[in-house]
């Protein structure tokens, strides 16, 4: 009987050790209900829409002309340095705990998608894994005189953006998340 409890003690100690190691990081709120994957082009937990509250997106010579990527400076969350699996998990965590990430600068590389919405277009950067099963992405917006399609990549072209996670409101879709982009680089 003592041996049995000894065998039970070992996994219990393991569980306590592992549980003790799971101290929360700065980003809290893991109890939030997960938003799950965001299908294209629904890029956030609520469908994004430009509506009248946000400015249209466009891109002149986007971002850093002549440089190979967006600037790594002042980036709070750099998704470009993560593996695909980690990027998806981090992305899911951001969507599930959006309140903890609002106002933070996110750098992400993915595939450009757009969707017509009335007279305008909604613009998204999508992260698509190899099996194209679990797509997720951000809607992004950029202030200024940027015109689609001249200042944007071709549909499904590669894109890297850096922007601040912002919550917007639209009369049709209600609250939605988007990246207020200040740096765009068209890769392909």
């Amino acid at each position: 009987m003592i041996k049995k409890y000894t065998y039970l003690l070992a996994p219990l100690l393991l569980v306590l050790f592992l549980a003790g190691c799971s101290a929360d990081a700065a980003a809290t709120g893991e109890d939030a209900v997960g938003a799950g994957n965001a299908g294209a082009p629904a890029a956030a937990e609520n469908t994004g829409s430009t509506g009248n509250e946000t400015t249209a997106i466009a891109g002149e010579n986007p971002g850093n002309a002549g440089s190979e990527t967006t600037s790594a400076a002042n980036v709070d969350i750099d998704l470009t340095e993560l593996s695909t699996t980690m990027m998806q998990a981090r992305f899911h965590h951001i969507l599930s705990n959006a309140e903890d990430y609002l106002g933070q600068t996110i750098r992400v590389r993915g595939q450009y998608h757009n969707m017509p919405f009335g007279d305008e277009y909604l613009h998204f950067v999508m992260i698509i894994p190899g099996d194209e099963c679990c797509r997720m992405g951000f809607e992004f917006m950029r202030a200024g005189d940027y015109v689609y399609p001249d200042d944007f990549p071709a549909q499904y072209g590669a894109l890297e953006i850096k922007g601040v996670l912002t919550r917007g409101f639209d009369g049709t879709f209600g609250n939605f998340l988007y990246l207020a982009v200040d740096d765009v680089f068209i890769i392909g």
Binding site: P11, A25, G36, G39, L82, H93, R135
Partner: protein, 284 residues
Amino acid sequence: MIGMLNQLSAYFQFPFVRYAMIVGVLIAMCSSLLGVTLVLKRYSFIGSGLSHVAFGATAIAAAMNLTNNVLFVLPVTIICAILLLRTGQNTKIKGDAAIAMISVGTLAIGYLIMNVFAASANLAGDICTILFGALSILTLTRTEVWLSLVLSLVVIAVFVLFYNKIFSVTFDEDFAAATGNRAKLYNLILAVIIALVIVLAMNLVGALLISALVIFPAMSAMRVFKTFKAVTVCSVIVSVACASLGMLASILAGTPVGSTVVAANVLIFILFCIAGLLTRRAKS
């Protein structure tokens, strides 16, 4: 190598990675413990059958917009486990046919319900995640981690405390009943524990790959060891090692977690087969 270690160290700063490792190790431990019993009782495919039941229950829970679908999925899976394990006893539909019927039936109904009552914008992604466990283990909330911890402890405790009874029921149920052991009760306990493990394991490898998590560690251990205790201990070690290495490889290489863990199990099985062959040749 140092770069890889630095990268891993950076990844472990994220709480969801630590949660994934904790729960993954516990799931691997629980599934391997049950795997030995299931393989010896020739119930290897019950894991697959019950996982499909869990998938169907998950679909119904999603259609009903339940906040925590485990509260629905777990009881449904337990009921089906009890029904399946009892079908071998004086019933018209025998074990393997019952497993097949329930398995494909619930899979089809679950997929149908998810299509008709689609609750998310990315249905294909959700189904893929549930079936193959591409990302589930990395998206656990703290509540889900604690729930998994508690359920895993229950499974391990039951196995340790009832080890001798499980042993006797596994090898000769009729003899166990004849000698006064309450075989039906322990079969019932086994059914409940199996259902618990299946619902837990869906987070790690998805519904379609659960059987691998149950079968491969036990089969690997049986290539080398011959006693029940040695096979059980080896099975646990193999399962935990494969789950840990599989998860680490997955987050480093960007591969789906479930498939990578199963691939690690397959590789270890091949190595153990070779080891067993060499051991037998050395003895002869």
